[in-house]
């Protein structure tokens, strides 16, 4: 029989995979993987803020992500530095500020490792509620905005000209990304949430021919990563978060083999 904590971990992981599957596709399509990484890094600052002001961690992470996104937009108008440089600047400086503030919090015992890599085996019932409640909400919003968001992803001008209002949907998508990171920070940790957003979607791209299919395969890839990762962490007594990402990487490598054979068949 499986232990309760393990079942909770499975449920939490499944919830995360269901959200990161389709959202991860948009992250890849919109070339936002570095942006997702930046938001994840800034989450450390969010957590320390939560400790200082005694806020809810998810809420605080969400707010900091929003601030970072707005700050990025401001920087883009002030300088011509390329986006990746600005994102690197924001990612590392917010991580650094977070760590500096932790240094001042001498009274609080603080598990930095847990924050970096997450602790999916320590998920409580209220965590599950946050993940599944937030997850359902995020997926419903994504379903509603799918069409205009997809059009804006394909081509801004086209979407704008034909009345799809891309600015609005780009903004909503940024908020959704911040929300995902906020609800999953405790589970997979800030270094691994980007992995869950990118790797399943990347493996799905190798084996899909249309956007809906890619979103589905990405979700399935994420679910498999969670299952393989968690059960092998139980079996081999390895850290669960990194095991999940390692499983995702293995699946990605398998998807590469498959496309190679497939394209050879075409020839």
């Amino acid at each position: 029989m499986l232990d309760d904590f393990f079942i909770r971990a499975l449920l939490a992981g499944i919830g995360i995979a269901l959200i990161t599957g389709p959202i991860g596709c948009f992250v890849i399509w919109r070339r936002l993987s570095f942006f997702a990484g930046t938001l994840a890094h800034s989450a450390l600052l969010g957590v320390t803020m939560a400790l200082v002001f005694e806020l809810n961690i998810a809420l605080s992470v969400f707010l900091i992500s929003a601030v970072i996104s707005i700050f990025l937009l401001q920087l883009q108008t002030k300088t011509n530095l390329p986006n990746d440089a600005l994102l690197g600047l924001l990612a590392h400086s917010s991580l650094a500020i977070g760590l500096v503030i932790i240094g001042f919090l001498t009274t609080i015992r603080f598990d930095v490792m847990g924050l970096l890599f997450g602790d999916i085996l320590a998920v409580s019932q209220s965590d599950l509620l946050v993940i599944w409640g937030g997850g359902v909400f995020i997926l419903i919003i994504l379903k509603i905005i799918w069409k205009p968001l997809f059009a804006s992803t394909i081509n801004y001008d086209l979407a704008k000209a034909e009345g799809m209002n891309p600015d609005r949907y780009n903004a909503i998508f940024t908020i959704l990304m911040a929300a995902i990171i906020a609800i999953s920070i405790k589970i997979v940790g800030l270094l691994l949430i980007t992995g869950m957003l990118i790797i399943p979607a990347a493996l799905a791209r190798n084996i899909s021919s249309n956007p809906i299919q890619m979103a589905l395969l990405s979700t399935i890839g994420g679910l498999l990563s969670i299952l393989i990762g968690l059960f092998s962490s139980l079996e081999f007594n390895t850290a669960s978060g990194p095991s999940i990402i390692t499983a995702a990487l293995l699946l990605f490598l398998i998807s590469l083999i498959k496309t190679k054979k497939f394209s050879e068949l075409k020839k």
């Binding site: 069409k147 394909i154 001008d157 086209l158 979407a159 704008k160 000209a161 034909e162 021919s209 249309n210």
Partner: protein
């Protein structure tokens, strides 16, 4: 133009500058139902920019733009689909509008690319992609079509057929068309109103009047002025692929 049709687009004294440098300024024109308005001009004269101004793509513009319809079809000059996004022609067709299979088939058929329906967009040639772009823009039965170099990369025969299709659409569907084209032959033979741009409006009017304008001659040279004489005769037949003559 004694055209009593509804005005679809009105651009008044519009322009835009980037970093204090004016890209285009003082452009005014209207597009009415069933009318084809073309923008011509040398490279960098602001044709695409003017189209984007008219479509409301820029946030800060000078002057005023009013559109009196929200059923707009746009064929942009450049569009690149990233490899990371797997998308078939049929997915692309429904990008901004819900269409049923029949509507998709009809539109693709009109531009001669029905056989590409399930192909991936990234596998299309330049000309094929252009035909798909046009099919997508007309499939939603727009009231206003904005076509920015719609036949670039299309073979010569297809080019003529597509321009005929565009003309037919404007007649049949009564939609207004704003066209950007390099092909002066087409512009002069098939459009109702021409604006000649070079950072501003050099001259404008019916094709007949524009070719007589000295500014037009300055921009395009004397040979361009003879174009109209070439085109002021009616074709009474077409040729099918094997060269036989089809009487109209």
């Amino acid at each position: 133009m004694e055209n009593k049709n509804k005005v679809l687009l009105k651009v008044e004294n519009a322009g835009i500058s980037l970093n204090d440098k004016s890209l285009v300024k003082g452009v005014s024109f209207e597009v009415k139902q069933g009318e084809i308005v073309t923008l011509i001009g040398p490279n960098g004269s602001g044709k695409s920019t003017t189209a984007k101004i008219a479509l409301g793509i820029y946030k800060k513009i000078d002057g005023k733009v009013k559109t009196y319809t929200n059923k707009i079809g746009y064929v942009p000059q450049k569009i690149s689909i990233d490899w990371t996004l797997p998308i078939r022609v049929s997915d692309f067709m429904t990008l901004t509008e819900e269409l049923n299979q029949d509507q998709i088939n009809i539109a693709l058929n009109l531009t001669g690319v029905e056989h590409l329906k399930n192909k991936s967009l990234s596998n299309l040639s330049g000309g094929e992609f252009q035909r798909v772009l046009i099919a997508r823009a007309i499939s939603k039965q727009p009231e206003l079509l904005v076509l920015d170099e719609p036949v670039q990369g299309v073979d010569f025969k297809g080019e003529i057929a597509l321009y005929e299709l565009i003309k037919k659409i404007s007649d049949k569907m009564k939609c207004g068309i704003l066209l950007i084209s390099h092909d002066l032959h087409v512009v002069m033979s098939a459009t109702d109103y021409v604006l000649c741009l070079n950072g501003h409006v050099c001259c404008s009017g019916t094709p007949h009047n524009v070719v007589k304008d000295s500014k037009y001659r300055e921009l395009f040279g004397d040979r361009a002025s003879n174009i109209l004489s070439l085109y002021e005769h009616k074709h009474d037949h077409t040729h099918s692929q094997d060269g036989t003559i089809d009487q109209k």
